[in-house]
């Protein structure tokens, strides 16, 4: 069996003074796989993403990313590990409004030498990598690159966020409800673009959403409630 990209085992987590929120006996995400994880709000999905990003530490059990046990790393090293290997796309307002589109895309390369190196290796320069990714995601107009990020439409902003998550080829892209602000047509188009880019970069995609209609597009889909033994009975 190949090494899993994410491997959780016997994971338990509770916020101090609260009932256990997560109790996940086992979970794997394979390299290159696209996974749809369904989770309504309040199901612990944000907490799970925080654990995967190394921002929170589990009470018990292990989280391995690319075979690396996160708990063994110091806080600083976890931060570095996260940016080296994970790209994030959030719901909305993902971008720093006061930077240009290009600067927003290049942000991770300023904090991760590894991703800057990979971007340069593949595209010649970080600037070139940003331009290429944006073009692949349908933002071809070079004039767009210099514009302030908040002058773009929401749909365009989400594509900029996707380019930022993908620059420097992280092994994992985590998308947390990235399409909730988009209308139905734009949603599917966005996901197709994201798939294509992940495939090209060889990245796995962990896509968290409550919008079941998107699920069939993915290699595999899971519900956090099935995974999590601590889940309260799903609301009807």
């Amino acid at each position: 069996m190949t090494q899993a990209l994410i491997e959780l085992s016997d994971l338990g987590f509770a916020w101090p003074g609260h009932e256990p929120l997560l109790d996940i006996p086992a979970f794997r995400l394979e390299p290159g796989e696209t996974l749809f994880l369904k989770g309504p709000s309040g199901s612990g999905k944000t907490t799970l993403l925080g654990l995967l990003g190394g921002v929170q530490k589990p009470d018990r059990g292990s989280i391995r990313l690319l075979g690396q046990e996160l708990a063994q790393l110091s806080a600083g090293a976890r931060d570095r590990f996260r940016v080296d290997h994970t790209g994030y796309i959030f719901q909305q307002f993902n971008l720093l409004p006061f930077l240009s589109v290009r600067e927003n895309v290049e942000l991770p390369c300023h904090f991760s030498r590894l991703r800057a190196q990979r971007a340069t290796q593949r595209h010649g320069s970080v600037d070139q990598a940003a331009a290429t990714l944006l073009a692949h995601l349908g933002l071809k107009d070079p004039a767009l690159l210099g514009r302030r990020a908040d002058s773009l439409s929401i749909g365009q902003q989400q594509r900029v966020a996707a380019a930022r998550a993908l620059i420097g080829q992280p092994e994992l892209v985590i998308a947390d409800e990235p399409t909730s602000a988009l209308d139905a047509d734009a949603r599917e188009a966005f996901i197709q673009l994201l798939f294509a880019e992940c495939r090209e970069a060889g990245a796995s995609l962990l896509f968290v959403s409550h919008d079941q209609s998107l699920a069939p597009l993915f290699d595999r889909n899971l519900s956090l409630a099935e995974l999590n033994r601590a889940a309260v009975a799903p609301e009807v």
Binding site: L49, G50, G76, D79, Q91, F93, L96, L99
Partner: protein, 421 residues
């Protein structure tokens, strides 16, 4: 470097608040530096009110009092000294020159000083500068000639040849005037920035002449009156003067002569060293000067606290910004450094514009201040002391920046990567 770029871009995004904050700091920095410059220059100009004079001699009183009336034309002598006492010391072999001065009259609020030609020859101020005439000549043998200080001439619009009447006493509004003996303006001195500018100089003979028919402080009436022409033909050697200044052949003899004067058996007198008395007087005013400095320091502190408030208030709205930075790999200390850099950038912008404001202000007010207060404010580069002050302000800003930095650090640890809407 990249963090600085981010901090500046974020500030530019809040440019209105940032501008106001920096402007408040600029004003406070400008105030502090202006107060410092005026303080330094006032002290220097004060110290240079009189120079080259080794001893000032007057009736026995306090040294500050003697300095005030003899040099600053403030207050009055408690007693006169006799003319023969002056002659006794003027002829001392240690003495190079002696200037007698006689005070007590005024002209429209400006003091009149009776003296001799020696005054124009030997009196010095600033860096050993002699008095110079802008126009005309010193008073000569005629007793009714007057030489005006620059400010007197300018404020009262006198020119050569004008006649003026002196008033008895030093009150601004004087009821008793020497109107039977008018004086003619024969000379106007160049501006010195010292009390000389506010003085009317007449000869001791003139001073004697206008009081020649006075008895017990009131003018004679009717037949007892002596006209100006009659006075010209009389012996106008004074019987008493107010004080005198001495220049010595050798500085070494200063203390010996001072002692000799203080122990003079003829009448009670005292001799003071002008430099020492100036120091004493300045230390009296030192409190007000220090208070001014402390106040301007507090104004700077207020400016910096304004900055702190602005940054702290922005923190909450910027949680998302911090979370985004965290998600692209910024570590909590990066987030904290951003805020320290922001505080530093604001303080730097404030200090630089404060400095610019100061120079604009000095350039604009230089002439006015010199003309009205006799204070020359140089447009010189900041002194080491001023650089130290600016450095101190920047350090204080850095220190203050650690407060929002610490809060943002804590916030970004607890918020993590996502911030709920």
């Amino acid at each position: 470097m990249y963090l600085l770029r981010l901090a500046l871009a974020s500030l530019a995004n809040r440019r209105f608040t940032a501008f106001l904050t920096a402007f408040a700091i600029a004003l406070s920095v400008c105030l502090l530096l202006a107060v410092e410059r005026v303080r330094t220059e006032a002290r220097a100009s004060f110290a240079s009110t009189i120079s080259g004079t080794d001893l000032i001699v007057g009736a026995r009183s306090g040294s500050v009092n003697l300095l005030l009336y003899s040099v600053f034309r403030i207050g009055n002598a408690t007693n006169n000294i006799r003319w023969d006492s002056f002659e006794h010391f003027a002829n001392n072999k240690q003495v190079k020159w002696a200037i007698p001065i006689s005070l007590g009259d005024s002209h429209r609020g400006y003091r009149v000083m009776g003296t001799t030609e020696a005054y124009f020859e030997h009196y010095q101020y600033g860096r050993q500068q002699h008095l110079e005439l802008a126009d005309g000549r010193p008073f000569a043998t005629d007793p009714f000639e007057v030489v005006l200080g620059a400010e007197v001439a300018e404020a009262l619009h006198y020119k050569l040849g004008d006649k003026l009447v002196l008033a008895h006493g030093v009150a601004t509004v004087s009821l008793v005037k020497h109107d039977d003996k008018p004086f003619t303006v024969v000379g106007i001195l160049k501006r010195t920035g010292t009390p000389v500018d506010r003085t009317l100089h007449i000869s001791l003979g003139g001073m004697e002449a206008i009081h020649i028919d006075w008895h017990n402080g009131v003018p004679a009436q009717g037949a007892g009156r002596i006209s100006a022409d009659q006075a010209r033909n009389m012996d106008l050697t004074p019987t008493a003067i107010t004080a005198f200044m001495l220049g010595l052949n050798s500085k070494i003899s200063t203390f010996a002569l001072q002692r000799e004067i203080n122990e003079f058996r003829g009448e009670p007198m005292m001799a003071i060293l002008p430099g020492v008395a100036l120091q004493e007087l300045w230390s009296l005013m030192g409190t007000a000067e220090k208070a001014l400095f402390v106040i301007s320091l507090f104004v700077v502190l207020t400016g910096l606290i304004g900055m702190l408030t602005a940054i702290l208030t922005s923190l909450n709205e910027r949680r998302r910004e911090m979370a985004i930075l965290r998600s692209v790999g910024a570590r909590p200390w990066h987030v904290a450094s951003l805020l320290v850099l922001e505080a530093f950038a604001l303080a730097l912008a404030g200090s630089v514009s404060g400095l610019a404001l100061l120079y604009i202000g000095i350039a604009a007010a230089q002439g006015y201040v010199q003309a009205n207060y006799g204070l020359y404010l140089p447009l010189s580069l900041p002194s080491t002391y001023e650089w130290t002050l600016l450095g101190g302000i920047l350090c204080a800003a850095l220190l203050m920046g650690t407060v929002p930095a610490w809060r943002a650090y804590r916030q970004s640890l607890s918020d993590g990567l996502s911030i709920r809407l």
